[in-house]
Each structure stands twice: as structure tokens, then as C-alpha cells.
Symmetry: C2
């Protein structure tokens, strides 16, 4: 997925593990809210919806933060994972495209609570400028470079229609944004070293539909055979 460019000095953590760390983090936060101070790999795995062996192996890539015979200290492990992911620091983010989805993203509380701060909402449509969404000004798309430089933005979110997405991505790359979260239903082409993650709502539904169809086809066949 992500291009490994430079020579990895840090021990590298498998991509599959990285994708699960935020899940563990959320589970730990929930446990902490319930005033639970210690948990076993089994308990944490259940809370995160994974196998306990997998959880232990994942955590072992970060270091040895548990105590045998006891388990993990919730607060301590929570901090270690947060530090590893990088959510102990503040991440300025720009969102481009203030349609329905852009609105939803701007209002999503899960961003702010994880250290992601929306510093600007950008839209090409002049009618939307000077609007205020979720306490943030909507600015002209042309100001992207300026805003990115000013706030040190490293992460950009694309919530435009498919047609505009590639242009937006190009401009983001020019502006020095090397990590992009793309909600537009398009394959983006970007230079090496730029990290793109894609979220596609209709693809998720299609995958579900495939499984539904397979299930119903299988049961119809079973019924036929038993007749």
C-alpha cells in the first residue's frame, strides 16, 4: 500500500498491524472510561473484536508493555499505542469539498478527539466562501498552498465529486501534502512517496451485496437439493 521510500531505520511494523492499532487504542479508551485499570490480552482482544494471539503479536512489535501473569496496564498501554501512532501530537488537516460528505466530516467529533484539527475547509464554489461550517471558515480552493504552508498541514481529505479529485490531489501534492484520505470514487495517481488511503461507500455496499447474493444462492440451492 504505502511506498517504502527511505531506508527503514525504525523496526518496521507490519501494515496489517498498523491498521489495527487504532482499534486497540479505541478499546483501551473505552476500558479506561469504565475505570478498568488492568486487562488481559483476552479481554482487550474481545473488546477489539480480534483473536488474542493476534493482539499479543501485534503488541509485541511495539515492545514488551505487558506483565506475564498479570496483563496490561490500560493507561500505560494506551499511551504507548497513542505515541506509536502519533496521536499524542496535533495534526492539522484540510478538507476539500464541502458537500454533504464534507459537512459530515467537518462535524465529526472523532477527528478532534484524536488530535486531528481541521484548520480549513476549501471549496471551489465561490457561493460557499465565507460560510462557516462546524466553526471553521470555508475558503477558496486557491488558498490551499498558502493555508497548508501557514499551518504545516501534512494530511488532506478529498470529499469532492470524482471529476475534481485528481486535480485536488495534484494541488495537494504541490502544496507539500503527502498523505491523502480520498472519499471520491476515483483512482488517484500520485508520485512515489505520497500516501493515499481510499474510502469508498458504494464499494463497501457492493462487497456486502456480493455476500448476500452468495448466501441466498447457496440456500436456494440447498432447498432445491432437499426437495
Amino acid at each position: 500500500m504505502t511506498a517504502r521510500t527511505s531506508n527503514d531505520t525504525a523496526r518496521d511494523i507490519p501494515e496489517a498491524t498498523v491498521a489495527r492499532l487504532p482499534i486497540y487504542l479505541r478499546a483501551l479508551i473505552t476500558l479506561a472510561e469504565d475505570s478498568i485499570e488492568t486487562c488481559s490480552s483476552e479481554e482487550l482482544a474481545t473488546a477489539a473484536g480480534v483473536n488474542s494471539a493476534k493482539l499479543r503479536k501485534d503488541l509485541s512489535y511495539l515492545g514488551s508493555y505487558g506483565t506475564r501473569g498479570v496483563g496490561y496496564d490500560v493507561e500505560y498501554l494506551r499511551y504507548q499505542i497513542a505515541r506509536e501512532i502519533g496521536v499524542t501530537q496535533d495534526w492539522p488537516v484540510v478538507i476539500v469539498g464541502i458537500g454533504n460528505l464534507g459537512h459530515a466530516l467537518a462535524n465529526y467529533s472523532g477527528f478532534r478527539s484524536r488530535g486531528f484539527r481541521v484548520v480549513a475547509l476549501l471549496d471551489a464554489d465561490p457561493d460557499r466562501h465565507d460560510e462557516v461550517v462546524a466553526g471553521v471558515d470555508v475558503r477558496p480552493f486557491d488558498e490551499l498552498e498558502e493555508i497548508a504552508a501557514e499551518h504545516g498541514v501534512a494530511i488532506g481529505v478529498i470529499a469532492t465529486p470524482a471529476l475534481a479529485a485528481q486535480d485536488v490531489a495534484d494541488r495537494m501534492v504541490t502544496a507539500g501534502i503527502a498523505s491523502i484520505l480520498n472519499f471520491a470514487p476515483t483512482v488517484l495517481s500520485v508520485p512515489d512517496g505520497v500516501d493515499v488511503r481510499k474510502v469508498d461507500l458504494s464499494i463497501e455496499l457492493q462487497i456486502l451485496a456480493f455476500h448476500v447474493q452468495r448466501k441466498t444462492a447457496a440456500s436456494a440451492l440447498a432447498q432445491e437439493n432437499s426437495a
Copy 2:
């Protein structure tokens, strides 16, 4: 991911391949719109953002729909993939939770164009009932079973806050909905045979943040070494 319950009579397609079929489908639709009648695996692979060998292997699970020395007929392959996924038929869908995200989902045109028809928007808040969003009535959550039965709903979308999500999922399962797309930041526990896919906005950002951090840490280190 998905629990394989029944004895698979159909040749089974690897999960990784299933996840890519909708991408191929979209690429084919784009090609068709550009009046391209034939394409090679290389061209289609580029349009879909994958390796051509992987594409050919994926397609080979569906059957042998290409012609050696020629390539694939765009329209024919498009139909075959659509049929395999199941998007040639109509899929009634309910969305629960009409916040910002629910609104965005209800308005998302990519659903309707792929055969997903939103038959109802449900919300527990009585103030929202009889509102109309994207041409669809907002109904009380209590009517879930009734509506699901009436329209033969097989797929449910959860766009509620985290706290409500498990209850909603339980009710969906009771109502016979065995495929759930969950946008709430929670791990759902469901009986075997129920298929849950999760989309988590803040997790995607956290994964990006991890890579940014690693990149900047690596370059800082490189700079240090060269000094």
C-alpha cells in the same frame, strides 16, 4: 472477515478479489462512457490502479471472459462482473441515524446508480420523523421490522452514534437483516452468519498519521546522520 457458514457449492472467490471487483466495475463503466469497446488487461489494470497480473488472476476466478491476443470486450466484461457482484438486481437498503453522516449517505448518488435503493431512513428522535431527506421519509426506528419485511431489506446501514450502534445492530438482526455496514466507531457483536463491514473515518486518519510520523522521523534521522 466474513463467516463462511454454509457448505460452499459455488467456486469460491478469494475475499481480496471480491474487494477489487467493484473497482474493476467502476473502471469498466468509465471506459464504456469514453466509448472504448475493447481493452487489454494492462489498460484496465492501469485504470483500476492495480498490477495487470493481479487483474488477470482476479478475472480468472469469474471465468474466461477475455480473448487471447485481443483483450476484453468492455461491455461484456462489465456485465459479467456486475452479475457476479449482484448489482444487476435491486437492493433495498435502510439507513439508521440521520445525523450529518446519515444525510450524506442518503444523498449519495453512488448508491442509487449501483442498484442500491434507500427505502427508509430511520431515527429514534421523534423530532425528525416526517422530515423528508433526499426524497425519502424519515420514520421512527421502531418501524424497522415492519419496513424490512415489507421491502425485503437485506442490507442495513448504521450511521448512529457509537452508543446506539449495538442496539441498532441487534434489532437489524432480529428483523432479518444479515448484512450491515457500520459507520459507528464501535465493534459490533453479532451472531454467526451476519456479515458486518466497518468504515471508520478516524481510524483511516490515524493510519495516515502513523505513516507521516514515520516518514518525518526517518528524514529527521537522516538529516542528523548527515550532519
